[in-house]
Subunit: 106 residues, 6 copies
């Protein structure tokens, strides 16, 4: 299984208390990150993009850190992703993500 | 300028009637699609992802068609993008995008 | 009551079938459009803005038409509103709203 | 499997062309609609609620029709769901859903 | 009036400073939680669902605590609600809500 | 340039590291806040509205503070804006913004 998200505390509890839901969640994750043609890194960049365009701080931070540590995604690559976030989701989402990125990389 | 969106009817009017706003819109587009490290195709896949995760049918359709025609993006590549949409934005967004994709490619 | 939305077909049915819900809906509308300091027109421009930033085509169209017919809001004023939509909600929302505006005014 | 959504045209194609993604999608659906304590009908009402609060017309319509036909959900029950949509997601989402509901039931 | 939200600090100020807006807010709340056929608990589960699918942490937390304390909603019932959130709104919303739930119940 | 947002830490870094993206961001900002007919204050009220309807706490807070300090926007004016947020985006967004406003003005 490819996504570190499952090692978060909530997910550990989920595994014990609701194994069927945990299993579906893992399988969803696996299907999402096992592309037919695009590699894992490209798919991870897309997950960073969607999360930055619409989710809360912690989800954005978690996706960025996971992408950088697991897959060697660079700051420049994430800024490129955020260019498209600025275009398609507006400046508040962009500014929030830039701030998170610099906090991580500083 | 890289994005066909500007050739839509609304944008042609905008160019004539509000040239300053049109110019900012073009420059935003250019900055978004001129990545430092990621190529145009990777950025376009990201635009498809964010649009599918959050926008209306026409925007999704336009992004997919533009990506396929201009950049040779394949159906498999878009389905890979939509895997991450299913994971991060849920099934209604995913189903909507799959339906649009098959309408385009059929 | 200030908002023409209530004269839509769904709302007429609602009035007959679920009068308590209809009443709450009208009162919400009245509270929203009776500002302490801002006038109705300013509040309507804000409703156009939020709708353009996040809602479906019909809601955007209805808000624009209602603002133009009831309150004499001009095309230039709506384009100014949409400038801020481009900034804060991104280009798909902006393009969608520009297209609707030109369809209405053409 | 409980959800008719899979019989939509897009999903039939998906099953043939991308069986792994289709399978994950079915399993996600099954995990979602097999509650530990809440019954299928209660979960379906929740799906109608979230869809009405955030999705496009077709997803809302599909959820409502499926809930009414498969599970005997009544108009009054859906209106009750939409009360909470008005409260938590605002009047454009509420009005859109009321309109769809009356089109279905008329 | 059924919703504890009004006892939040912001709402106390609102009551004093903007009584008309406060009154509309209370009446909206009452209309939302007084279903014709569904009971208060079912409607509260729906409010938890929509909030988890789209709102910030504090709103989710407040809805969950209020549902558990006022109405005896169980952890299992909330997890069932979150199954549908995973399906219809994606994993970031689901993970965020699971984390909040476990923080409350631990 | 009219928007204090650019003086945030993330934006200072952006200016040094990605000058082209920074420039597009400034120009977008300028186009957004230089209306043809509406003045800067009206446009700022609209930015507060859209941000309150859809963004995270920090973006809302920043828009409110900037509007009050730079442009003398009053508490009553912001509450009027939030009336429309309650109508068009629902009570969680409204409550969140009211809370932020009272924290700023207390």
């Amino acid at each position: 299984m490819k996504d570190e998200v499952f090692f978060s505390k909530g997910m550990i509890h989920l595994k014990e208390d609701y194994p069927d839901l945990y299993k579906a969640s893992v399988e969803l994750n696996d299907a999402a990150y096992n592309g037919k043609v695009l590699d894992y890194k490209s798919l991870k960049l897309i997950a960073i993009a969607i999360t930055a365009a619409s989710s809360d701080d912690r989800a954005v931070k978690k996706q960025m850190i996971s992408g950088m540590q697991e897959l060697g995604i660079s700051k420049d690559e994430i800024v490129d992703v955020l260019r498209v976030v600025l275009l398609t989701a507006g400046k508040p989402a962009f500014t929030k993500a830039i701030k998170i990125l610099y906090k991580i990389t500083d």
